[in-house]
């Protein structure tokens, strides 16, 4: 009788104490967060690099709409990545492609998410460049500048302003997407929360804690991106 009353009356603060402070569990969240951020950061960098290459491969499509070999390869890549779930891509990378490789799970996850993100980033970059009025390129060319120079000095600086907001969004999506790395035995923030829940027989507090941490990081990212975007616009139109 007394025992049941005790259990039922375990206060919310005690439950959170158990999930966070008890046995220094906060260190586990911190470790998990480091894994999440590590994968997100390096995958984002890899994604932008791949995205850049793929975007320019796609833009090599001829004026009459026919594919060049580069644009064809790029289109296939984007189609395949967009057409399959990222959790499957991650498992295929981990259990098939890199199963015999010396790479750590984190590196494989970075590659997998980088390759995944690259497809989306390439579309963002491509759209951002195409959104710049074609008259800008024509004006540059009519002055005798080469296509590459006009791209570099005129089109791309203007495209950056189109690209930045959706690219920031892509980073945010990417960070949340990394929550699936638990599938390949990596201990990221989500996985850690899950493990602590099964240790304390109380899933609610650790999951809420993890959610709040994700939310805060993404909120900070959003604010920083907003600032950067405003600054770029200011230097443009004043």
């Amino acid at each position: 009788m007394t025992a049941t009353i005790l259990l039922a009356s375990t206060s919310l603060s005690e439950r959170f104490y158990n999930a966070f402070i008890e046995a220094d569990r906060w260190k586990l969240y911190l470790d998990g967060l480091v894994v999440t951020l590590e994968i997100t950061l390096f995958a984002a960098i890899l994604g932008v690099l791949i995205g850049l290459v793929i975007a320019f491969m796609q833009l090599s499509r001829r004026k009459n709409g026919k594919h060049s070999i580069f644009s064809l390869l790029a289109t296939i890549y984007v189609d395949v990545i967009r057409g399959t779930p990222s959790v499957l891509q991650l498992m295929i990378m981990y259990f098939v492609i890199f199963s015999a490789s010396p790479f750590s799970g984190t590196v494989i996850a970075i590659i997998s998410f980088g390759v995944n993100s690259g497809a989306y980033v390439s579309e963002i970059i491509r759209a951002g460049i195409l959104a710049v009025d074609s008259g800008q390129m024509e004006a540059g060319r009519s002055l005798g500048l080469t296509r590459a120079t006009t791209m570099r000095k005129i089109v791309i600086p203007q495209a950056v302003k189109n690209i930045l907001p959706p690219l920031g969004n892509e980073f945010i999506v990417l960070m949340k997407e990394t929550a699936i790395v638990g599938y390949v035995a990596l201990q990221d923030l989500t996985r850690v929360a899950n493990l602590i829940g099964s240790r304390t027989y109380d899933a609610f507090p650790p999951l809420i804690i993890a959610a709040v941490v994700y939310f805060i990081i993404i909120k900070i990212l959003t604010i920083l991106l907003g600032k950067l975007e405003r600054r770029l616009r200011k230097s443009d139109n004043r």
């Binding site: 009025d133 008259g135 800008q136 024509e138 060319r141 009519s142 002055l143 120079t149 600086p157 443009d236």
Partner: protein
């Protein structure tokens, strides 16, 4: 100076130019008029290869513009172009718009280019806008800057593709004035326009184009007073 031989241009199945032959001499001011869709702009854009001719030849001085081995960027340095929608570089200040090409192509030093640009801006009374950005200017100001930007390359010929068509009526005059002054300075000009007054006043020859062909070519006096082609008569009765 510019010779066009049997120029054809198609976009897919659509034949836009159906065999244009024409010759422009140094110092001439050629004004091209005609209904929309007649191929005027396409013709102009074929001259500096913004459109690639389907067949035929375009010569500039002794270079075949659409020749396989021609470095088109070199040719374009000598052919300025002014667009209907100005196409000023939105990410650059006015002075940078003007100096970008001559400096990047190493035709002028930075200081030299800047001095030239300021002198040109003075000529169109826009010196105080040197540090402004295109978004801060009116349409008429943008177009005058666009003309100056082309002139900064010291071209031998200037192509104008409906330079006043996107302007509010009260700004047309200021742009035409700059063009008239340029004409008086001896520049070779090819102008596609709907401004009949400009054609009458400035042109050495007026061309009438319709359905991809030059249907009439004459001095402005004859062109407007005694149009021969029935389609030109019809066209003039509508626009004058």
């Amino acid at each position: 100076m510019i010779t066009v031989k049997d120029l054809h241009k198609s976009f897919g199945d659509l034949q836009v130019l159906k065999g244009i032959n024409y010759e422009v001499d140094k110092g001439q001011k050629i004004v091209i008029v005609g209904p929309s869709g007649s191929g005027k702009s396409t013709f102009l854009r074929c001259l500096n290869l913004l459109e690639i001719p389907t067949s035929g030849e375009v010569w500039f001085e002794d270079v075949q513009v659409n020749g396989k081995k021609t470095d088109i960027n070199k040719v374009r340095r000598n052919m300025g172009m002014v667009f209907q929608h100005f196409n000023l570089f939105n990410n650059l200040s006015i002075i940078d718009n003007i100096t970008l090409a001559p400096v990047t192509l190493k035709l002028q030093s930075k200081e030299e280019a800047k001095e030239n640009a300021l002198a040109l801006l003075r000529r169109v009374n826009l010196e105080e806008k040197a540090d402004a950005y295109p978004a801060q200017l009116s349409g008429g100001q943008k177009q005058r800057i666009a003309i100056v930007r082309s002139l900064a390359m010291q071209p031998k010929v200037m192509l104008f593709d409906e330079p006043t068509s996107a302007l509010d009526p009260e700004m047309v005059g200021e742009v035409l004035d700059v063009m008239k002054e340029l004409a008086e300075s001896g520049m070779t000009m090819i102008v596609v326009t709907h401004e009949m007054g400009f054609a009458r006043e400035v042109a050495s020859k007026v061309l009438f184009m319709d359905e991809g062909l030059i249907l009439e070519e004459n001095t402005p006096e004859q062109f407007f007073a005694k149009p021969e082609n029935p389609r030109l008569q019809d066209f003039l009765s509508k626009v004058l």
